[in-house]
């Protein structure tokens, strides 16, 4: 049997199992919007963790990070992975848990619905929807590019970028549209296990093929010693380092597809357990990802710019047999699909709940679900069209999206933790944050001390929220209490 056939068989098995899980979830899903979009709010620790982690891990980690460490070395681990080990769990506490409780209190299904009710302002909901949509679309594109690249390299061009991208979207649509949140969470367990097991196996097998961990590092020390230290690259200057650390820590909770999974948690205990597990699993995933890029730079020198996004599949192709190459592809597919499904479901739920339902108040629950499925299809076609253009490297596209999400964090946080925060404050925060981000991206605002544009966006968003709130009358206390519960004094 040819290598290509083996790779194809392994992936056919992976896709079949995913579809079967999606079908089983569909059989358990009722036609209510709460069950379809949130899986009945019943996720316990294990499923919740795998759903969050699976959703969080994308080709940004599996392909973008090796591609970046190929150029900039081991410092990429500290720049990206370390700080999120603290930052993500912190946002689960400060934003995720109160959001879960508030959503349960008012039966909200989407983040935009929650904040529209908290501020008694549909405008806040619509603005959040626009921002979520604007930043999630490019982030989805990175996933599809990742699949196309990996398939193209591992099948030596036998399966084209376009065919691979279209196929992964079609299968994701199939199980997401049918089974909703329950299908995406159940498949995320399988998908998360697939890419975690694969990356650890690949790490040790490639190290073995390179003569062991010490020999692999020695080769890098000989051919590209600058990759074993941070040095003075711009990424590692304090301004860049600090502002990127802030961005990557805060951005994850503002992914709408992560935020909505907070609503699916059964209770606070489940969220706490997820927070405890997060740092450990980040190490297991990110350490190999960074080291693959560094080893790859010694073995395949000379890749320029976004070409380094393909270094992970190149290493797999060079060092592993066809079965493991097939598993590598399944691992990348799993990472992509576990995020794409959540993104599709969340955006479609926001469109149906927050836009369509306002326009058609008598829309039935079944009608909402059907509209969500149609929107999922339209969104997928848009993502495919953009991905085929390959507008930039995976890391650059993701960095753009991450910066945008960060401008929403002050609204998400203060809306839950500061009762004085008003609709005007939220609107000012979103508008000012995004305006400042754009001005900084285009160089109108200076890069003081080397900080990234995201720092300007965050600062403006905080100022907008605080000043806008203090300048306007407080939200009706009854409205705030209905969403957040009664105010209490700190013990």
């Amino acid at each position: 049997m040819s290598d290509l056939a083996v790779i194809g068989l392994v992936n056919a098995a992976y896709l079949l199992i995913t579809l079967i899980i999606g079908w089983l979830a569909w059989r358990r899903t009722s036609a209510t919007a709460e069950d379809y979009f949130l899986g009945g709010r019943a996720a316990k620790t294990f499923v919740l963790f795998m759903a969050l982690f699976g959703t969080n891990v994308t080709p940004f980690v599996l392909l973008g990070i090796p591609g970046l460490s190929y150029h900039h070395g081991v410092g990429i681990f500290g720049l990206n992975a370390a700080i999120v080990g603290l930052g993500i769990p912190l946002t689960f506490w400060l934003i995720g848990d109160p959001a879960r409780r508030a959503a349960l209190c008012i039966s909200a299904i989407t983040p935009t619905e929650l904040y529209a009710q908290r501020f008694a302002s549909p405008v806040v909901g619509h603005l959040l929807f626009l921002a979520f949509f604007a930043y999630t679309l490019p982030y989805m594109v990175t996933g599809v590019i990742g699949v196309g690249l990996t398939v193209e390299i591992l099948t030596r061009g036998a399966v084209s970028f376009t065919a691979a991208a279209a196929l992964v979207l079609a299968i994701t649509i199939a199980y997401t549209a049918l089974g909703g949140m329950r299908a995406t969470m159940w498949t995320n367990v399988f998908q998360g296990a697939t890419f975690m097991v694969f990356i650890l196996v690949a790490f040790f097998m490639i190290a073995g093929d390179l003569g062991g961990l010490a020999a692999a590092t020695a080769t890098v020390a000989e051919r590209a010693p600058h990759l074993l230290i941070k040095g003075d690259a711009p990424q590692f200057t304090p301004g860049h380092w600090g502002s990127w650390g802030l961005a990557i820590s805060l951005t994850v909770i503002a992914f709408p597809h992560m935020f909505v999974r907070m609503f699916a948690a059964r209770d606070t205990a489940a969220l706490k357990n997820v927070a405890r597990l997060y740092p450990f699993m980040l190490v297991l995933l990110w350490l190999p990802a960074v080291i693959f890029g560094v080893w790859g730079a010694a073995e395949f020198p000379g890749l320029e710019g976004r070409a380094s996004d393909g270094i992970f599949p190149r290493m797999i192709s060079a060092h592993l047999g066809p079965v493991l190459q097939g598993m590598a592809l399944a691992g990348v597919l799993a990472a992509v699909m576990s995020t794409l499904d959540a993104q599709l479901l969340t955006l479609s739920s926001m469109l149906t709940r927050d836009i369509l339902r306002r326009a058609y108040p008598n829309l039935s629950g079944a009608g909402e679900v059907m509209a969500g499925r149609i929107f999922t299809l339209a969104l997928s076609l848009t993502v495919l069209a953009v991905a085929l253009q390959r507008p930039a490297s995976i890391f650059d596209i993701a960095a753009f999206a991450f910066s945008g999400y960060v401008t929403l964090v002050p609204t998400l946080l203060l809306g839950l933790r500061w009762r004085r925060c008003t609709a005007t404050g939220a609107v000012a925060s979103i508008l000012a944050g995004n305006a400042a981000l754009l001005l900084a991206q285009f160089g109108v605002l200076p890069r003081v001390f080397g900080v990234l544009p995201v720092a300007w966006g965050l600062l403006a968003a905080i100022l907008g929220a605080v000043l806008g709130s203090l300048a306007t009358r407080p939200t009706d206390p009854a409205t705030v209490t209905r969403v957040l519960g009664p105010a209490r004094r700190s013990a």
Partner: protein, 67 residues
């Protein structure tokens, strides 16, 4: 310890970790740990061990069920 005290302790420890994360003193430090792990990676792995411990404390101290 009161919830307020837990929060103060957590904030101080988190601030300390953030300072340690900005490791400008490590930029040109070479050398390997265990014969294969570059010093910079080893430092940030150790940092993550500290972060994991702090996250654990966060879930048992300042983060209460009715928070």
């Amino acid at each position: 310890m009161s919830r307020r005290a837990h929060r103060i302790v957590f904030a101080v420890l988190a601030g300390l970790l953030v300072v340690l994360h900005l490791d400008v003193w490590n930029h040109d430090v070479g050398g390997l740990v265990f014969g294969w792990l570059p010093w910079d990676l080893a430092y940030h792995l150790a940092w993550m061990a500290g972060a994991a411990a702090l996250v654990w404390y966060m879930t048992v101290g300042p983060w209460t069920e009715d928070d």
